[in-house]
């Protein structure tokens, strides 16, 4: 398999008991590509993301990252392999400050022989945080404020800045602007453009048609747990995508899927 393929899944399937949340997803993503995943509520978008990121264990199917077959036991495995995820529910600890949140679960430390009592390298984490924020163009007045006191946009930016701080090989954003105001959404979209310019691959789960049309190269549509369309942005338009989402149309290659 070519090294140019960032992520590939084959027959990725997830059942929750009797519920077939995701069935036989075949997905492929090239280097530098920005792909949107769309679909109605419960269509399997978030389920798809959770299987790739190791938050849940897939029922069956295979996943390759940069040509290497991967089986993540948990989210930290995926993170170590270079998949950085901004979750729909913000995975931030409200009472901690920005560097603490960025480095949660993988703190910079010294005196590692102390095991769980190893010491935190606050200075190193602060400097890396500054660098990460600068790289994404995120502006936060005081990174040592606890997250609780920040606006929704700032919180989302903190979550996104993680990706820049850790030089991720694949960024996944699950509805990053769903809860944000107009200005904050613009801020997040700018960060996404910055990632595009830097050639960082991105999977964007979104309901926002305008955003998707503006930002990505390719659109994948899920319906009732199955992939029903794989559209290049140039070959499609909003109405067309909606038709796939609602089930009025099904992609030729996915006939009989849904």
């Amino acid at each position: 398999m070519s090294e140019d393929i960032v992520l590939k899944t084959e027959e990725l399937t997830k059942h929750y008991g009797g519920v077939h949340a995701l069935v036989g997803a075949n997905f492929e993503m090239k280097k530098g590509e920005h792909i949107a995943i769309m679909g109605d509520n419960g269509a399997g978008k978030s389920t798809f993301v959770r299987q790739i990121t190791g938050v849940e264990q897939r029922t069956s199917g295979k996943v390759w990252l940069y040509g290497e077959e991967v089986n993540f036991a948990g989210p930290l495995d995926a993170r170590e392999a270079g998949i950085e995820t901004v979750f729909q529910t913000l995975a931030l600890a409200d009472d901690l400050d920005v560097p603490d949140n960025l480095f949660l679960g993988r703190e910079k430390t010294y005196a590692n022989w102390l095991g769980p009592f190893r010491l935190l390298d606050y200075k190193g984490m602060r400097e890396a945080t500054m660098a990460g924020l600068e790289k994404t163009g995120v502006k936060i007045p005081n990174i040592r404020n606890s997250i609780r006191n920040m606006s929704g946009g700032q919180r989302q930016c903190v979550a996104i800045a993680r990706t820049a701080t850790f030089h991720s090989r694949l960024t996944i954003m699950d509805e990053p602007t769903a809860a944000l105001g107009v200005q904050e959404t613009a801020q997040v979209e700018n960060i996404i453009r910055t990632l595009k310019e830097a050639g960082e691959p991105l999977i964007l789960v979104s309901h926002n048609m305008r955003q998707v049309m503006e930002l990505v190269d390719r659109i994948i549509v899920f319906r009732r747990g199955r992939m029903v369309a794989n559209l290049r942005k140039e070959d499609t338009n909003g109405e067309d995508v909606v038709a796939y989402i609602t089930g009025a149309k099904t992609g030729a290659e996915f006939e009989g899927a849904a």
């Binding site: 930290l76 995975a91 679960g105 500054m130 904050e184 801020q187």
Partner: protein
């Protein structure tokens, strides 16, 4: 990058923008309470112009009433050691009700390995085991006590983290079990007459030395180690901690083990201080320990608070107890007043939370 976003001001780290630490409020409250007792001492007619804090006997070498200050801190030191552990448990959004009976059970068990063989030349009348358990070095009761604490804490933590029993229920069960163990251990009889070296670790101001040293150690741990950071993270947002790759279950077990070991250590010291161990020891200790943490600004919702806060909370409780005795308030009123103060502290905490959210 849009520069028009409101509320953003560049990447500067502004020290002046750091919020007023909550510990300062508690320190302020502590000072106010001391002042109130001082004033009450002056205006209450039956007090004969005594002073709460200052020396009134016109000695040359002292300003303060050292005896009272010593008693204030001594009477909170042992419960304070428990509170250091309870603080960590509450920061993970849990609770530990088992610490009081654990103190009693550990005191009984530790004392059985810290007895002296001869009392005034006669065999120890309270001897529980044979001569093999007599006159052992002081590390034996300490290690036995801490091991028992670790064991109880591991059970608490396992039930809470792996079997998902609510902490309140799991530790309430352990509360009864430990009281049962304390009674069963020697058939309800006291275990007494410790060795000189065992006596020493609880004598005089030693409990205060232990309390303050452990407070300093755990302050550093909570603030500067991965253990501390993860403890706060779990209490703040358990799901986020899990998704960040923190082994939440294992960490919780560790927190409950440390809390129980601290409670057990308090039991070891209490037995040494009292020079005896009795099954009824440590009554209400778990509640006073929780009260110290809560008065010290530890949020019961988890994620917030500090060891310094708990130490100050312990001081507040100590000053209030001592102050009530000073103004000759009856013990029954003392309990009622302290209950009210604890409730007030929780109301204040929730008020703060609402304002911050």
């Amino acid at each position: 990058m849009s520069d028009t976003s409101h509320g953003t001001g560049g990447l500067t780290f502004d020290k002046t923008k750091r919020t007023w630490p909550n510990e300062m409020n508690i320190l302020l409250a502590l000072i106010i309470i001391v002042v109130i007792f001082e004033i009450l001492g002056q205006i209450l007619p039956y007090m004969n112009d005594q002073s709460f804090l200052f020396d009134t006997r016109d000695r040359f070498d002292s300003i303060f009433n050292e005896a009272r200050l010593q008693i204030i801190i001594l009477q909170v030191a042992i419960i304070g050691i428990i509170a250091l552990g309870v603080t960590q448990v509450i920061i993970t959004a849990g609770i530990d009700l088992s610490s009081g009976p654990l103190v009693a059970a550990t005191a009984m068990i530790a004392m059985s390995f810290g007895q002296t063989e001869l009392v005034n030349g006669f065999p120890n009348p309270k001897a529980l085991f044979g001569t093999w358990a007599m006159d052992l070095p002081v590390v034996v009761p300490i290690v036995v006590g801490l091991s028992f604490g670790a064991f109880i804490g591991a059970i608490n933590g396992t039930f809470i983290a792996f079997l998902r029993i609510p902490p309140f229920i799991a530790t309430l069960g352990m509360f009864l079990i430990c009281r049962g163990i304390a009674l069963w251990w020697s058939g309800g009889n006291p275990v007494s007459f410790p060795t000189e070296s065992y006596k020493y670790i609880g004598s005089g101001m030693m409990p205060v030395v232990w309390f303050l040293s452990l407070a300093a150690i755990f302050h550093l741990i909570m603030r500067y180690t991965v253990y501390g950071k993860h403890t706060y993270a779990i209490g703040s947002n358990e799901e986020a901690a899990r998704m960040s790759g923190i082994n939440v279950k294992r960490h919780k077990v560790m927190v409950y083990m440390i809390a129980s070991m601290l409670a057990a250590f308090a039991g070891v010291i209490l037995a040494a201080k009292s020079e005896t161990a009795q099954a009824g020891m440590g009554e209400f200790y778990e509640l006073f320990a929780i009260a110290m943490a809560v008065i010290g600004g530890i949020s019961l919702q988890g994620g917030r608070g500090s060891i310094i806060g708990t130490v100050l909370g312990a001081m507040v409780l100590g000053v209030i107890r001592s102050g009530f005795t000073y103004i000759k308030l009856d013990g029954s009123y003392q309990l009622m007043a302290m209950g009210s103060i604890i409730i007030a502290a929780i109301i204040l905490d929730q008020y703060r939370q609402r304002n911050k959210a």
